[in-house]
């Protein structure tokens, strides 16, 4: 399956590349969008091959990253529009989805998207309970209840405000 990116049919002048996700789907992306990823840019400089296989990025995540790259490669869009696209892009996304996205942007080296996603994740996390953070990041608590209580007592300064949510 070949999916064109959101900008519609590519003009003959523009070069494009095909990017394949780990689950086998292929995406047709303009070269101008692909090179916004430092990793893809390097690959394209090193080899003539127009098919790039990404073994650790799934279909759904790759589609999101490509939508982002295509929007940011669009010279017709103002910086303001791109900024509001960025806000829209991360809003309402599940924490898990953001985790896959941040990993993908790290692999593909898309620094500005990595920042946007990391910022969104921090925004979600800041009012959550420690138990929520453990769950979402798959962290094993290796403190005994007594030891954890002691740590919390030592760091009492961090615990003197309230209003936390857990969901």
């Amino acid at each position: 399956m070949v999916t064109t990116d959101e900008k519609g049919p590519l003009t003959a002048k523009k070069k494009s590349v095909i990017i394949r996700s780990c689950d086998g789907d292929e995406f047709l992306v303009s070269e101008s969008a692909a090179v916004l990823s430092t990793s893809l840019k390097k690959i394209l400089e090193e080899k003539e091959d127009r098919l790039i296989h990404l073994s650790d990025i799934d279909n759904k995540t790759l589609a999101m990253v490509i939508a982002y790259l295509s929007t940011h490669a669009d010279d017709g869009l103002s910086d303001d529009l791109k900024r509001s696209f960025d806000q829209e892009f991360v809003s309402g996304k599940e924490f898990d989805v953001l985790k896959y996205l941040v990993l993908a942007t790290d692999t593909l080296q898309v620094t500005c998207l990595c920042y946007t996603v990391a910022k969104k994740m921090a925004d979600i996390m800041k009012n959550k309970l420690v138990e929520w953070v453990r769950r979402e990041f798959d962290i094993q608590n290796d403190y005994t209840p007594e030891a954890e209580a002691e740590i919390r007592r030592l760091d009492a300064w961090a615990w003197d405000d309230r209003q936390l949510e857990d969901d």
């Binding site: 985790k99 790290d106 920042y115 990041f137 608590n141």
Partner: protein, 356 residues
């Protein structure tokens, strides 16, 4: 590896964007996390992000000599919190990267992180003059070359007693927070005036104070600077039109990250000069307004035109430089009564020797 999910550098990226107290809470996630969120490199990343947000908090000394902080100045419901730092506090010298330098009523100099409530007493320099006969000016700053916070003390000795000598030169001593060691830099070519609530001002990697060059026929006011990394003195031009007369009514402060000279010598009001671009003499911008006060210390901007200041009273007022109006700042529902204050940023930086 602290989790099976994400690489460590991404985790640091995400967690360094959390508010300081959220990081503190996350220090109990697991043992490895406590270590990760306490490393100097994490604390630096976190500080770099906080700096970017430019969120300024106020630290204030109350009439009863306790410490309060204000996180958000709002028009109607500004709230201050008393910090659990039992002592009798007299003066707040200044702040750098979330470390605030205080002097208590016993003249002890104490470095405090008002967020983590860690504090460290700065030992007296072995070369310090007898306190009762000397005049000192303190400052806190950061030496980027050695990655070290430094307390700077300028001092001179005036005995008023013929049998013992005075040392009227300005001695400069620097204390390294990292090593816990004092070092005498030498004698500053620029003296300072001993004034209430006048401290060295840290901007652009250097400590600054208002000084005067009186060796020439025609004395002039200048801003003396001491570069913490290179340990050299230099001079920054004072605003044009600042005269040498009534020197004691002039004060150097930091406002909005810029050097700022406050002049209360005129009966017609206060003059405030702001050096918008560092060390660019043409960038001095003057604001004047009618305000009959000798004690006047601007702390921070609210928006573009309003400045929160400590004035005699003692209280906090909001001055509007644009329309010349002033109003009391209402804190906790009443007009705020504070004797001194300064701004600080939230950070995890430790005030203690060796960063522990």
């Amino acid at each position: 590896m602290v989790t099976s999910d994400l690489p460590e550098e991404i985790l640091i990226d995400i967690f360094s964007r959390l508010p300081t107290k959220s990081v503190g809470k996350c220090r109990c996630l697991a043992k490895t996390w406590r270590t990760l969120l306490s490393t100097p490199s994490f604390i630096k990343s976190h500080l770099a992000r906080t700096r970017k947000t430019r969120q300024e908090n106020l630290i204030l000394i109350t009439h009863s000599q306790s410490i309060h902080s204000i996180a958000n100045i709002k028009d109607d419901d500004t709230v201050s919190r008393e910090l659990e730092l039992p002592d009798l506090w007299a003066e707040v010298v200044g702040s750098c990267d979330g470390l605030v330098l205080f002097i208590n009523v016993d003249d002890e100099v104490i470095l405090v992180n008002p967020i983590t409530l860690q504090q460290a007493k700065i030992p007296t320099s072995p070369l310090a003059f007898e306190r009762s006969e000397s005049f000192t000016m303190h400052a806190i700053g950061y030496d980027s070359l050695r990655d070290d916070y430094k307390v700077v003390v300028l001092s001179y000795l005036e005995t008023y007693n013929g049998s013992r000598p005075s040392y009227l030169d300005t001695f400069v001593d620097v204390y390294s927070v990292k090593t816990g060691v004092w070092k005498r830099i030498g004698i500053s070519p620029y003296p300072f005036a001993d004034l209430d609530f006048a401290y060295g001002v840290f901007v652009n990697e250097a400590i600054h104070w208002l000084s005067m060059n009186s060796k020439l026929d025609c004395p002039y006011v200048l801003i003396a600077a001491f570069d913490l990394a290179n340990e050299v003195f230099f001079e920054i031009p004072a605003p044009r039109g600042i005269d040498v007369g009534k020197f004691l009514f002039k004060k150097l402060v930091v406002l909005g990250g810029c050097l700022c000279v406050v002049d209360t010598s005129s009966y017609s009001g206060v003059d405030v000069w702001i050096m918008k671009e560092y060390n660019v003499s043409e960038s001095w911008t003057k604001f004047s307004m009618y305000f009959d006060q000798c004690m006047f210390k601007p702390l921070c901007f609210i928006g573009d035109d309003e400045v929160v200041s400590v004035v005699e009273g003692p209280c906090l007022v909001v001055l509007n430089f644009k329309d010349g109006t002033s109003r009391d700042l209402v804190v906790n529902g009443v007009p705020a009564l504070f004797t001194d204050g300064c701004i600080f940023v939230e950070s995890l930086v430790s005030p203690a020797f060796c960063g522990n």
